[in-house]
Symmetry: C2
Subunit: 458 residues, 2 copies
């Protein structure tokens, strides 16, 4: 059996031996505040990318910063033998802002406490990126017959607006037989999860202008139109906020409904409504049944109002009628909803209900659905079981990773998500952290995965 030839015996010792190096590299990377949302952090983005290039070169890869009209993409290639199959590893090195008052320590100072590493970016996604890097070095040094490519993005947190530009620019060099993505979250520490789908996103604003200046609600109220009131009414016509059900005709037409098997997979993820509520500090939810909750966050589209601008927001009530109001809205989309088609539905619906309301497109991310069966999913399952001693649950992520749909469309190869973040890691939240348990398990998982997929594509 070929697999016996894959050298996994020294792996435990290797993982123990690189701990110090891993921590030092993670510390250095975390202390560069690569906040892609903040234009003032541009020099940090470049510094972070430069450091990443260094890390890649240190393991023998060719590496460069590929410039785009936005932030660069760090692109690495470690071609051992052109006859070997290739895996491309996707991670991102930009991070969320860290303004939350709940941070106990300075978010961009790396803090190590026993097995735990604290700081913005530790779990999303610098820690998993370095975990994979360490695994690649072991795989190469120990003769696993694979070539490696690295797509380390610096714009994931702002929707990957220039990732496609990178893919086009390097269209020949990015070719690969499969993609490994490590930027997702388990549902529970006790149960590894392999997501195979992502929701998409359509963001838009609704704007209504009924006048040019504030009006006095005494002198004009009754005859004057109220743009906030009309947007509220329109939003209530678009969806039932109590249940989340979207009322725009045709909205659900292309939704691929989750099968009974999929729902069973979600339920096997270790999900608990109580823990979910505690983690996100919700007072109540729309649903209490676990299957219903999981379906609504993994396999169903949403309609969400993020804010309403215009009008008075100071203390008390100032009885003014504003001339203009804007509602900030997004819908998360699921396979096979098409954001362009949905935008058209929204625009037509708004026109039919309140033609004075302007609909402005803000953002598009297409939904993604991969496979939870087949050789690559099987390789993932075996890798997870090998490293963490438990079969993974196959789930879907409720969020969106802009680059994934681009990868799928431009490469047309299997994409496998082997994430390492845990709910308690504070993904997108204050006091973000990562831990040695996930890093060390992750290295073993990746090495095993590489050894598995090296057997395919031959």
């Amino acid at each position: 059996m070929e697999k016996s030839s894959i050298p996994l015996k020294g792996l435990d010792a290797y993982v123990r031996s690189v701990r110090r190096e891993f921590e030092e590299k993670l510390a250095e990377l975390v202390e560069i505040p690569t906040i892609s949302m903040d234009p003032d952090r541009q020099p940090d983005i470049e510094r972070g990318a430069d450091l990443a290039v260094e890390y890649l070169k240190a393991i023998g890869a060719q590496a460069e910063k590929v410039q785009t009209s936005g932030n660069p993409v760090v692109f690495g290639q470690l071609i051992v033998d052109r006859r070997y199959p290739t895996v491309a590893i996707y991670n991102h090195l930009d991070v969320q802002p860290a303004n939350e008052p709940e941070w106990v320590r300075e978010p961009f100072t790396f803090f190590k406490h026993d097995d735990r590493y604290e700081g913005r970016g530790t779990t999303d996604d610098k820690g998993p990126a370095l975990t994979a890097l360490m695994a690649v070095r072991y795989a190469v040094d120990n003769g696993i017959p694979l070539n490696f490519k690295f797509f380390w993005e610096m714009e994931e947190e702002i929707g990957s607006p220039h990732f496609e530009q990178f893919m086009k620019k390097k269209r020949r060099e990015v070719k690969t037989d499969s993609v490994l993505v490590s930027d997702t979250i388990w549902i529970s520490r006790t149960k590894p999860a392999i997501p195979y789908g992502l929701r998409g996103l359509l963001g838009f604003t609704l704007t209504l202008e009924t006048g040019k200046k504030d009006a006095h609600s005494g002198t004009t109220g009754g005859a004057a139109r109220n743009p906030i009131g009309e947007l509220c009414q329109l939003i209530a016509q678009c969806y039932d906020a109590r249940t989340g059900r979207v009322k725009i005709p045709g909205f659900y037409r292309d939704v691929k409904r989750a099968s009974a098997e999929e729902i069973q997979n979600y339920l096997a993820s270790g999900f608990s409504v109580r823990r979910f509520m505690r983690a996100h500090e919700f007072k109540s939810l729309r649903f209490t049944d676990p299957a219903r909750v999981l379906k609504s966050i993994m396999a169903e589209p949403t309609f969400e109002v993020h804010g309403i601008v215009g009008g008075y927001v100071g203390p008390g009530v100032k009885t003014v009628i504003p001339p203009r109001a804007e509602a900030k809205i997004s819908t998360r989309l699921v396979p096979h909803q098409d954001p362009d088609k949905i935008f058209q539905l929204v625009r037509d619906f708004v026109r039919s209900k309140n033609p004075d309301v302007k609909v402005t497109h803000e953002a598009t991310l297409r939904p993604y659905l991969g496979e939870f069966t087949g050789p690559y999913a099987d390789a993932g399952r075996r890798a997870v079981t090998f490293a963490f001693g438990k079969e993974p649950a196959f789930t879907r992520e409720g969020g969106s990773i802009g680059a994934i749909v681009t990868l799928e469309e431009r490469l047309g190869v299997p994409i496998v998500f082997l994430g390492l973040s845990l709910p308690e890691h504070g993904y997108h939240a204050p006091n973000e952290n990562y831990d040695w348990g996930q890093a060390s398990g992750g290295m073993k998982m990746f090495v095993k995965y590489f050894s598995e997929i090296a057997q395919l594509n031959r």
Copy 2:
């Protein structure tokens, strides 16, 4: 006929002779920024009140600043003969803020251009107050058999929260046979208007808290409640924003419907939908029929959303689900709606639709309805016709003057509104102004009115 004994012959000459004094006094008063909404203007409020006391003393009145827990009320008494009937004159000397970028000149520097006087407070309500003061001096000097009292408030623009305190403190001294209010607006320059009703106000907030921190709409969207969406839905259940129709059961129960005669009176005011839209810079209105528009601003209650707090209001769309949202709402109320009863209806309705939403009371002003017939209304009609050569239209004001209901309840005497502001005066707007045409006509109107009511109550 008794009226012939009233000396109106020298009136024209008197009015001409006081023009310079009027302008100087108005300038001095306007240049004190008595903005009651701005706590930093407290010293200006006091300075303005001190100057007003001086002005009253200069015409021979007893005058004092009556302190309350808020701003003082300037109280003057000019008792000529205890056997004469008394009229109390209500004006206010506080003003709106003047932050609008559209101001062409410094709002608190008095500017005279031919017959026009510019500056915050010129028409609302310092100009009319001084107009009445000049008329009183003439009336007293020329033997019109009346006593005069002055209620010059410094909190009208913030809803008169301490006026009742003043009325209680001076309960014996404030007694009068009638009240004259000069703080209202004609509908058109070409047609004087005497309002006989005011809308009331109930201000409240709707607050919904569904969590403790921002949630990620990818990770939690679908299961997470959206407090902005739910408030929009609740608001749409409360009223139809397109028509303004309130859907809360019982809301219209106590509304005294405007009679056909009243509607005819409103239509006689010189109102034009086109001018109304231009004055307030509206792009469109709920209604286009003049009678429908007038009814909706004068004789019908409203439901108004002034602002929604919570959520993201920066550029673009940030896909966060906020933990909390607040809607700032008021209803203008008409006779005989009771604000306390309406608040109860709102609270019960909200509880039935979304029990997690908290309703917080913010402000109450009761509606007021006087008479447009009877001896005082007749005196007003004759005074207006005498001074401006045109019969007045009897209208209702859509706004609220907090002190009026207090005056009605505590004094129980007729209240007549002889306002002098014109639509083009920029009431509550940038480039506020007043003019000598209205001031000189106003002096004659008041003198004639005093001579008329001196015949009553004997």
